[in-house]
Symmetry: C2
Subunit: 309 residues, 2 copies
């Protein structure tokens, strides 16, 4: 198993977004495409400086940089980029404790997902591809309630109370990082189905010119009902961007055609194809699958040294 | 509190030796001289890769490099030398578990004590002063039984069994590191009092020419009963060394005179003078106090950039 890439060092992907923005779901699909044995996934929550009991005492939110070993996270990102191992701290989400650290061996691909991955310049300089997950706010709350009640042992009231307590933390600490991303991913429900939270969600990719995006012209220019749309637009900050929209209703045949196009660009990963688009729900989601594929494409290009570094 | 030294980076002292060789006692006195707030002490036992239960299963001794994160220890030594913080793993000697890591802020002086600190070239390159503790073997066993039964909850039989089990580990993993030290410290009981293990022990310093040692001529050349003796000799490997011997019976007045000489060389630390020579016993030991002082002298010289680096 090679420990590095054609580029001569690991390629690092950042997936930053608020709590329950869909980071883990996105990450696991990308790791599947790149090959799990070639990927190390780091969650920045592990860099919490205080356990749950200490946070209750000192009143700091886990989203607050002062509640995290930001300097150690910077150091570890730099070491990972140099192809060095790290002894990564471990935060236990179930028990709220800081546990025995994990040895992380160097791998060709590193995915760093979490709340504060773009908080400092030194961190941002470590990534090859920077993604910010910015789902529809109501959708994120539904996701958070579902996850925290089903998998982290909280009640619905506790989740809503935590969200309320954090309402100033997100705009202060999380949202300002959006501006540093190469790609902003915005899942949103179709207007006529505001309660949708799974396979039929639409996705919007805001593509900044900070990365060379793949040429999508062969699949564009079709009818408005094609489920796939690219247009020049302005971001919320007024800057010019490309916006790619993939509808949850995209016809199967059409989604597969886009997948074919992308797989043709990255033939070495095609054995992974079957596993795409899975999430915590009954059906596969084409917008999710295509999102994972687009991001993996960027990682593979970076690994070949094709992206500017 | 300055975070570095005149040298522009932290000064690093290594104290390597077998289990119960007296590392902690030596270290704490040196930290007192340098000023506790200016010293970070790292114990390399914290880099165990397996807890006690896992070691029982895999049959590896804690002295075996394969039982330790040697690459992470190297990395952390390098980071400390660069004046960077580390998130240090923690091995809990009482419970035999790997616990939540500790944040270690940069300090002007770093003392790294443990079993395997000189095991690799990359580690050895990080130190400014390298000490190897090599007490009389029977003395070390007495120290080990005392410590492990009084403070680590083992029975005498368990300690003796562990020593027997490790009898091949010491020559394989610990003793080969002796050759890399600048100073070898050998505490030994006087011939007529073989059971002595405290204040009346003698000490022998084997001084390699790898460090510029202080000029001791003002205090030498006195009678054989003076309790202090320096001579040119050959080490066990045949290489030329200076050997300094300090007798446990050194007269108080004479010990203080040597201390005066050394304090005169390092006036900035003299407020720490009162605390020297303390160990786990009823009286202070002049040989221990002078040993701590000699080593602290080398650290302070290194901090001034006077030693070759």
């Amino acid at each position: 198993m090679p420990r590095t890439t054609t580029l001569g060092r690991p390629v690092i992907l950042g997936i930053v977004g608020d709590s329950a923005a869909g980071k883990t779901t996105l990450t696991s699909g990308i790791a599947q495409i790149l090959g799990p044995a070639r990927v190390a996934t780091i969650c920045t929550d592990d860099y919490h400086a205080f356990d749950r009991r200490e946070r209750a005492e000192n009143g700091l939110s886990a989203l607050d940089p002062r509640c995290n070993h930001m300097d150690i996270l910077e150091q570890h990102l730099r070491l990972l980029r140099q192809g060095q191992p790290i002894l990564k701290p471990v935060y236990n989400h179930e028990r709220g404790t800081l546990d025995r650290p994990d040895y992380i061996a160097p791998k060709p691909y590193i995915i760093v997902e979490g709340l504060l991955g773009y908080a400092t310049r030194a961190m941002r300089d470590c990534y090859d591809v920077k993604v910010f997950l910015d789902p529809d706010p109501k959708l994120r709350i539904r996701w958070k309630v579902k996850r925290d009640t089903e998998r982290r042992g909280y009640t619905r009231d506790e989740v809503m109370w935590a969200l309320d307590k954090r309402r100033f933390d997100s705009p202060t600490h999380i949202e300002p990082q959006r501006t540093f991303a190469d790609i902003i991913i915005n899942f949103f429900p179709p207007l006529e189905q505001m309660e949708e939270s799974g396979a039929h969600l639409n996705v919007r990719h805001i593509l900044r010119p900070t990365l060379p995006h793949p040429d999508l012209t062969p699949i564009l220019g079709m009818s408005a009902q094609s489920g796939l749309h690219l247009e020049l637009s302005r971001d919320t900050d007024g800057k010019p961007v490309d916006v790619l929209e993939i509808a949850g209703t995209i016809p199967e045949r059409r989604a597969l055609k886009v997948e074919d196009l992308l797989w043709a660009l990255i033939p070495e990963a095609s054995q992974m194809r079957a596993r795409l688009g899975a999430y915590d729900g009954p059906a596969m989601s084409h917008p999710l699958a295509l999102t994972q594929l687009f991001i993996a494409y960027h990682m593979l290009m970076a690994a070949e040294g094709i992206h500017a570094v």
